[in-house]
């Protein structure tokens, strides 16, 4: 019987590995397939490639619209990130301080932007912001994107706070440190990885967001994803591939940052007396 099982196992292991690796390849192929196209000479977004060229990057960099979209994304995403991170971190610290009645409900409200379907958020904000004079404005987009990013900050910071020993804050307080000082000098450095990874999540959320933007933005506030959405429908040419390649590079950077933070956090946790 033992012999029998090893035979199956022997066959099983490679099949299983092949399956898993092909699934992993399935995950990255649609992303990787874009990259060579951005260096393609031809003007259609399809294989086979017809020669190496940087013209689509020139097109991207030389296009007023793409540049405007890039600029807008780089204005809106950081602003939304800042707002979401500040509010989300404070709230997570508040939540971690203990139980109170209605905490479940509060938590549900704080997480809800992550759960509600985007189209519904978009349509609701569209009707609501119209009454507040926030349609077609940077402020409206920043508020909307911040709301979408908040749950990620709350969740990641709350998770980091689990590993935070509250005695540090108590020690600081007993030594006479005012709360803000204690927060900034004692708590924040320790939970920083969580705050930063929450901020990265919020940034990625805003930087990728297209549905809400489509409803709330006018051409002047067009963002990179909005420009891409128009491009995919209107004009599927390799400029999109160039933009996409740059966005992939950006997400790779985000990913590496996250990984680095995670390791740092693990180390810190190992060091903290929990």
């Amino acid at each position: 019987m033992n012999h029998h099982s090893t035979l199956i196992e022997r066959l099983w292991a490679p099949i299983f590995s092949v399956f898993s690796i092909s699934m992993l390849i399935f995950l990255v192929v649609p992303i990787l397939v874009i990259v060579p196209l951005s260096f393609n000479e031809g003007s259609f977004l399809s294989y086979p490639l017809s020669g190496f060229s940087l013209r689509w990057y020139q097109e991207f960099l030389g296009s007023q619209e793409w540049m405007r979209a890039l600029r807008n994304s780089l204005i809106i995403a950081p602003a939304a990130t800042l707002l979401a991170t500040a509010l989300g971190t404070l709230a997570a610290v508040g939540l971690a301080r203990g139980e109170f009645r209605g905490k479940g409900l509060v938590m549900a409200v704080l997480i809800s932007p992550m759960i509600a379907p985007l189209v519904i958020i978009a349509v609701s904000l569209y009707f609501f912001f119209a009454q507040l004079n926030l349609l077609n404005s940077y402020l409206g987009l920043v508020l909307a994107h911040a709301a979408l990013g908040v749950p990620f900050v709350v969740i990641t910071v709350a998770a980091t706070l689990q590993g935070y020993d509250r005695n540090f804050s108590r020690a600081a307080a007993s030594l006479g440190a005012p709360p803000w000082f204690a927060f900034r000098k004692v708590m924040l450095p320790l939970i920083a990885p969580g705050v930063i990874s929450g901020a990265l999540f919020a940034f990625a959320t805003s930087f990728d967001e297209v549905v809400v933007t489509l409803f709330l933005a006018s051409p002047a506030q067009r963002t990179l994803p909005m420009q891409m959405f128009g491009g995919i429908r209107e004009n599927l040419n390799p400029t999109i591939a160039a933009a996409a390649t740059l966005m992939i590079a950006a997400s790779a950077v985000l990913l590496l940052l996250m990984e680095w933070l995670r390791r740092r956090n693990e180390k810190l946790r190992g060091a903290s007396p929990t």
């Binding site: 099982s5 299983f16 898993s20 992993l24 995950l27 990255v28 192929v29 649609p30 992303i31 397939v33 874009i34 977004l45 399809s46 294989y47 086979p48 404070l90 709230a91 508040g94 939540l95 301080r97 203990g98 479940g104 549900a108 409200v109 704080l110 809800s112 759960i115 509600a116 379907p117 189209v119 519904i120 958020i121 349509v123 609701s124 904000l125 569209y126 009707f127 508020l143 911040a146 709301a147 908040v150 709350a158 689990q162 108590r170 307080a173 204690a182 990728d208 297209v210 994803p225 995919i232 429908r233 599927l236 999109i240 591939a241 996409a244 966005m247 992939i248 997400s251 990913l255 996250m258």
Partner: protein, 420 residues
């Protein structure tokens, strides 16, 4: 520095107060301060999220068009018995209202709204507006009825009354393929050609279910395989899960178009390999939507499952095997049950996200593959039927809220953070 720290309170409070009171007081101020920290975000979300969503729920009942355009008519109809032909004064009031409405640009929305009650009213009103009886005419009612006998039917006026209420069930009924019959006033099913939303709702749930099952089916073994790898190598493999997770949805969608279209990479290679003669239709249909949605949502199953599986000690399976169980059986009875909570949570999360999908089906599906979100957007943008958009949106929202409630029940024991 007006705030006092926790320990400072202990020194400054009344020495006579009992320890319990002091503790309670300290606890109270501590809790208040916790609330103060949460308050800014809560207020922010109330304004930029909760209120707008509440507003849309309200909009699915809101019914302003006829109230605004035909105030005198509705007033004149108040004394009407609902059975006979209304008095002359009702007809006069209607003509007066129509004239004012014309000047104020309310006619299109009025025609649109009454047209929902019965399509014939659209032509009826257009005709009446083309030849509105003059003020001096002997009998307004007669000249209107001469245009169309519909004006003589009580059901027409009952419809105006019904559409003239400040709140309406029209949109919510329509979202479930029902309507109030213009003739009888009863709630009836929509005729077959027009009924759509129940099937769209079913389709939405079905597609989300298929995607969820695919994600679990493919995600589970991959997560297991990754969890079995030595840590350093697993981290490298994980990059292949994390990269798509962090990459813009639009980039991935564009990638799928490149791969799946008729002249795309997949069809190209299969033809070159002699597997097929004719390109397969892989995009702008259900297949394309399933492939890309599974691709997008797969990391949401793999990543949490991986975390769960990393925490499972291999000793259980080893113990089972050493007790003589077949490895597969050992895996099934000693390992899989420990991952149930993780699978359920991941699957629910994927399902919740999948039923709200819009962009992916819009770019990679055909008209028969669109989910509820598409129709919300369609009514908002294309036909400007905002009541309908709101009603369909509310339908979707309520389903999501119910599922989220289930999700939070399922995940609660697994997440001690919320209890601590």
């Amino acid at each position: 520095m007006s705030e006092v720290s926790l320990t400072a309170i202990d020194h400054s409070t009344d020495k006579n107060a009992s320890l319990k009171q002091r503790l309670l007081r300290a606890e109270g101020s501590y809790r208040r301060r916790s609330m103060l920290l949460i308050a800014p975000l809560l207020i922010f979300l109330l304004i930029s999220f909760v209120l707008p969503i509440g507003n849309i729920l309200w909009k699915s009942f809101d019914n302003p068009e006829v109230v605004r355009a035909l105030p005198t008519t509705l007033l004149a109809l108040q004394g009407w018995d609902g059975e006979s032909r209304p008095d002359e004064k009702v007809f006069v009031a209607l003509v007066k209202d129509l004239k004012t409405a014309k000047d104020e640009g309310q006619i299109p929305s009025l025609i649109k709204r009454l047209g929902y009650e019965d399509g014939r009213y659209r032509t009826l009103l257009t005709m009446a507006l083309r030849k509105l009886p003059d003020d001096g005419v002997e009998s307004t009612s007669r000249s209107l009825i001469a245009q169309s006998t519909l004006w003589a039917e009580p059901s027409t006026w009952r419809s105006i009354q019904r559409a003239g209420r400040t709140l309406t069930a029209y949109y919510v009924l329509a979202a479930f393929d029902h309507q109030v019959d213009a003739q009888s006033g009863n709630i009836v099913e929509l005729p077959k050609g027009q009924a759509l939303y129940l099937s769209v709702l079913m389709r939405t749930l079905w597609m989300a279910l298929v995607v969820t099952l695919l994600c679990v089916l493919f995600g589970y073994p991959v997560a297991y395989w990754l969890a079995k790898q030595p840590s350093s190598r697993a981290n490298l493999w994980l990059i292949m899960v994390l990269l798509p997770f962090w990459t813009s949805l639009l980039v991935r969608t564009a990638g799928w178009i490149v791969l799946l279209q008729n002249g795309g990479l997949i069809n190209h290679s299969m033809i070159a390999l002699g597997l097929i003669d004719q390109p397969l239709q892989l995009v702008f249909n259900r297949v394309g939507v399933y492939i890309s949605m599974t691709h997008i949502l797969l990391p949401f199953v793999i990543l949490p499952l991986y975390a769960v599986m990393k925490g499972i000690s291999p000793n259980y399976v080893r113990a089972a095997v050493s007790l003589g169980a077949h490895p597969f059986r050992a895996f099934w009875s000693a390992y899989v049950p420990q991952t149930f909570a993780g699978v359920t949570a991941g699957a629910l999360l994927v399902f919740i996200m999948a039923i709200g999908y819009y962009i992916t089906p819009a770019l990679l599906g055909g008209p028969g593959d669109q989910m509820l979100s598409y129709f919300v957007a369609f009514y908002t943008n294309t036909t400007i039927n905002w009541g309908m958009a709101a009603a369909l949106g509310s339908q979707l929202l309520i389903i999501v809220l119910l599922l989220y409630w289930v999700y939070s029940r399922v995940t609660r024991p697994a997440n001690p953070a919320q209890r601590a």
